[in-house]
Symmetry: D2
Subunit: 372 residues, 4 copies
């Protein structure tokens, strides 16, 4: 099979190429780049020398020659390629935000610089590609024709997966917000140089940004609502805070989920270390999480006592999750870790292709996380 990547020289695009180059079902890669059309990929990223040699073409040529197409483009420029793929009956997996909001154009418009849908009909039939939420929907749609996938944002992937079991099972009090406090590596900002990602500005420092105003907020809120609804539970409020850390890759989310009385533990003195009841309830909820994700190929619910860490999922498609109960006994604290460029972008896109095409969902994604 031939896989095409439109926008192969951005960070997510290049990571896609790297993963697809080792995918057992992909025979050939067809790549495009607006910035470097006519150049060789390996001239832009010498890492590929001797492994992948590929001329950078026009987007139209990619669509023409490929059996499945990925787009790793800026927001707002890829709809026409999606339309072309639908015409040509090829799946289209979009790593931008353009197809993440389905028919809800107003939300997309409000958060993405006032952009509007150029091909509104396409959005009626696209699917948000978080397999842990929509796998059956993706499969069903693929059974009846070409599919447009809105590949999730990096923060929404880690944040949603950490909260899903609690929301599906109704552990949370609906009247208190769920908080997702996430910290990301700098590759999340992409390949284009800017003050914010200039080495001396972000080295040796941590800072939050876009507090209470990041565009991933509505995407996470929508995911949490959808999962809660799957268990007939009400949608929770969401608070989302992103920070930037001096590392290349990875997102570590800490998620605070207020528990119903039923799932809480009574604590007499929160000035004292956690009691055995806390430990027991933690183990019970951890078991619930492990059950929820038992058949997921890329979610690892860690043993009690461990926390997720970005260096344990580095360069892999895993999402690690750990479960804790707060010292007052009434808030679930979940930690989740992903590699923002893999499960948070390119790896998840390949996972979506695997689901769409009926491949083994692990195909091309069986990397063991790099140790360092």
């Amino acid at each position: 099979m031939k896989a095409g990547v439109i926008g192969a020289t951005g960070y997510a695009g290049a990571e896609l190429v790297r993963i697809l180059a080792g995918h057992p079902e992909i025979d050939e890669l067809i790549l495009s780049s607006v910035s470097f059309e006519g150049d060789q990929l390996e001239d832009i990223y010498p890492n590929f020398l001797g492994r992948v040699s590929c001329k950078l073409l026009k987007a139209e040529e990619v669509i023409e020659s490929s059996d499945v197409v990925f787009a790793a483009l800026p927001h707002g420029v890829g709809e026409k390629y999606a339309a072309a793929c639908m015409t040509k009956k090829n799946h289209f997996i979009d790593l931008s935000a353009d197809f993440r909001f389905d028919a809800d154009e107003a939300v997309y418009n409000a958060w993405y610089d006032g952009k509007t849908y150029q091909y509104p009909d396409l959005h009626k039939n696209s699917v948000y590609g978080l397999p842990e939420l929509n796998r059956q929907k993706i499969k069903k749609r693929a059974a009846s024709g070409p599919v447009i996938i809105g590949n999730p944002g990096c923060y929404p992937t880690g944040g949603s997966l950490g909260a899903f079991p609690a929301l599906a099972k109704g552990l949370n009090r609906a009247d208190i917000p769920v908080i997702v406090d996430a910290i990301s590596g700098v590759t999340g900002g992409g390949r284009e140089p800017s003050r914010s990602f200039h080495y001396p500005e972000c080295a040796d420092s941590v800072a939050p940004y876009k507090v209470a105003s990041h565009r991933h907020s509505p995407e996470i809120a929508r995911n949490l609502a959808a999962m809660a609804a799957s268990g007939n539970n009400p949608a929770p409020q969401l608070i989302f805070t992103p920070r930037l850390a001096p590392m290349n890759r990875g997102i570590l989310s800490v998620i605070y989920i207020p528990l119903t009385a039923q799932w809480s533990v009574t604590v007499n003195n929160a000035m004292m270390p956690p009691s055995k009841e806390i430990a027991a309830k933690t183990a019970e909820i951890r078991e619930l999480y492990a059950d929820f994700y038992r058949d997921e190929p890329f979610v690892r619910v860690l043993p009690c006592g461990m926390s997720a860490a970005t260096n344990r999922v580095r360069q892999s498609n895993f999402c690690d999750i750990s479960v804790h109960l707060d010292i007052n006994g009434s808030t679930l604290i979940v930690t989740s870790a992903i590699d923002n460029m893999v499960k948070g972008a390119a790896g998840q896109a390949v996972q979506n292709m695997n689901v769409l095409c009926g491949f083994n969902e692990r195909a091309g994604l069986d990397m063991i996380p790099a140790l360092f």
Copy 2:
């Protein structure tokens, strides 16, 4: 005046020496080290070459020769030195946790490896040295004799300062926990090598640790309760989560404070970007914070639109604070940044000395934060 530092070769002790060496009221430094007794400080830290040359003595010699004594020792070994200082009528500023819990030995015992007070009487008269909370108490006590200061922990400093104004003024709903989610540089772990702080284990990675079980939790909770009480408000519940980031210095805290209805803004659609009402209420609360800290020499309440960042307070005694309102309108999000080794340890200890001794509180602490 002669200043003594017991435990001058740990990270906090050495940072103390560096600050005290530039203090206009200190003429001489008397230093001790158990590990390096008899050596020269500059052999252990060549940074001091040509600037500070000092032989490392016994603790007893330090007490004998100094007018004010700092102790930067492991928890549980410094009480006898405090006792000796009281006898000799010298102030004793302790950077360990031994005097942070006043007479509440049970809490200390429960969180600090079962340690007990060897000199219980000393703890009846020690003062917790967070000047923004206890300045008047420190001054008053100093007026009538030598004082023992329990210098605050690093996390409690940044976390408490960010929450104080809201608690003093009763902005918060008492029935929902305050959350302090903090991320620290690695110097917080001290000078002793260990797996957790081994370069390849913490470089290029972020991870939480001791989730819901860190010993700074009761210290922060106690501070929040004290400040709330000062405004006749009830003590809030606290959730505290520490993380480790790949940087040397700094603590960035994000603090979530649930607001009373009076301080909240009604939001019709939290899927949409923040409204003007949100911005207006944020500015109002920011003003309240600025008023609260107007006379504090080391707290900077940032303009609306900025967030605190550790690289803006690096190598200084500042605590930067920013104020935000969450997208649902009902939770105050505060960010605070300190240098964990300065305002979080050695700088604050010097600030306490300045208060105790009636010096200008800024003396020796007027560093402009390093730009990079």
Copy 3:
């Protein structure tokens, strides 16, 4: 085939496991660890969760059950395992220095803490496993029985490969030393915590260490002499300086090779930028290097104008090499980059296994360097 790893929980051992787990010719891994005998590998390195699950056994059990054995042990403790493997007729690939010096026990003894050979006969028949130097020797020996491989040190790999073509072809003046100035990531120091590799001591800083006294010096010198001899050229003197950089992986070597008059360019004014003659001679030497390594699967000679960089070979078995002529026209400046844990340790060990066993030399080692 079953591969055994003795010492699987050190950094090199764990990296070996990670590579072998994806090797197409290896069906099963048998692992041992002195420190963690009886534990599961994935408890020590949670990265392996869901990918490799393996109990840590005794070294003897590894030898008993494996078809090929790797040892990633401290220097001086593995000879008996080599002996056992020879008896059992299995290849033994040793990542320590024990078999790097062949029969030259005096050099080993002088540089490695006075250790002596316990099984001197083994050293008469071991082979130094730098395939680019000794591939034919390894193959020939493997044809007639089990082989002991002394897997090269990390610095010697990068330093030797960068200098080999010039020495083999006699470009260098023999009367002036060759200089290898190399800088390494911190994983080179291994998994054991120590002051030198404590995060705050090495973050945000660069320092040389063991200047003119590092034990890799005689290993590099021996390699250079061997390659020079292959071209009937005299052995050069060697100067080797290692430095430590704040990064996890990688070694970047800059190698200064004084050129004979024949290979030099006459420069009239070295205060002026390099002339076209410099560029032409550089291209000529670059061509010579490219020819020399034309059939090597893991050496990439970069185009003129590029320099080697550790982030272009990260997580791969490549050695990148670039060639430059100094501004005076008389010294060749070569840069070489490897991943110290792959081509500098575990990857090269697997490459040696591939050569020994007649596998495709690229088997299990076709990783595309990680982009970030």
Copy 4:
């Protein structure tokens, strides 16, 4: 006294402001910025909040109101300000390369984008401001009127200081090049974002750049020649190689100086660890270095056995130097460390002001290097 800084918002300019703000002889700062004219400095660098509040003016206003003027501008735009200062009889300290080459316009032209001198007469009387080379010349010139200082480049500072004693005393063989192999932190690239200094491109990686073609090469060569000439020794050839390391500040140079027979030690077997003769000769040369720099306020010659490290001079104006003899006995290996933003730029500029104005040369520069 009033100090003016033209170009106060670049990295070197801002660092200058930070140092000058604590200088005991400076009462007021007058600042300009083309990019941010009319803004407040503390809005660009919030680090200054509460410490320095200063409106950014035009360059002409700075010159008008200041008693001494610093320029931290791009190369090629500052000559007119120098001319204006001369007219106004004020010293002008230029941090660009414009006045580093004295009357040698051809070299400047060849390396700095073909720029030419607009005010050639100014260059006949400017002084290259490396105090360890030209202190007397600076003083003498200041005695007779306003002076233009060409403040040295960062690499030339560290590289020259490490080589000076050997060249002045004639330790080196003139027929073999001196090699300066230096590695720099990323602030050396300035404040303007670019691909080369984009966080993900330089984090966790080391790479050389502009090998044998960096514009600091002629500046270093000229300095070495000048110092050699001061001892009636011939000018050495120079090879200069810069690398970039993932750290904010600091330059670590390793300098290889081939020794005359008189200063060499005969080594019988360079495969063996260094002999006592090597250690003795090293101590002798170290003593010579210490003597040479005995009266220098900012050069520290380290004890034998130590190497220079950037984290030992961090945030200070020190240059640390260590001395080693190579294993063959015939090459001196010197390591030198500076903070590229202090001794390599802003600190040295202030040192030049101190010399020019007859202040204590240490004034404003007595910082103890930051410990981490």
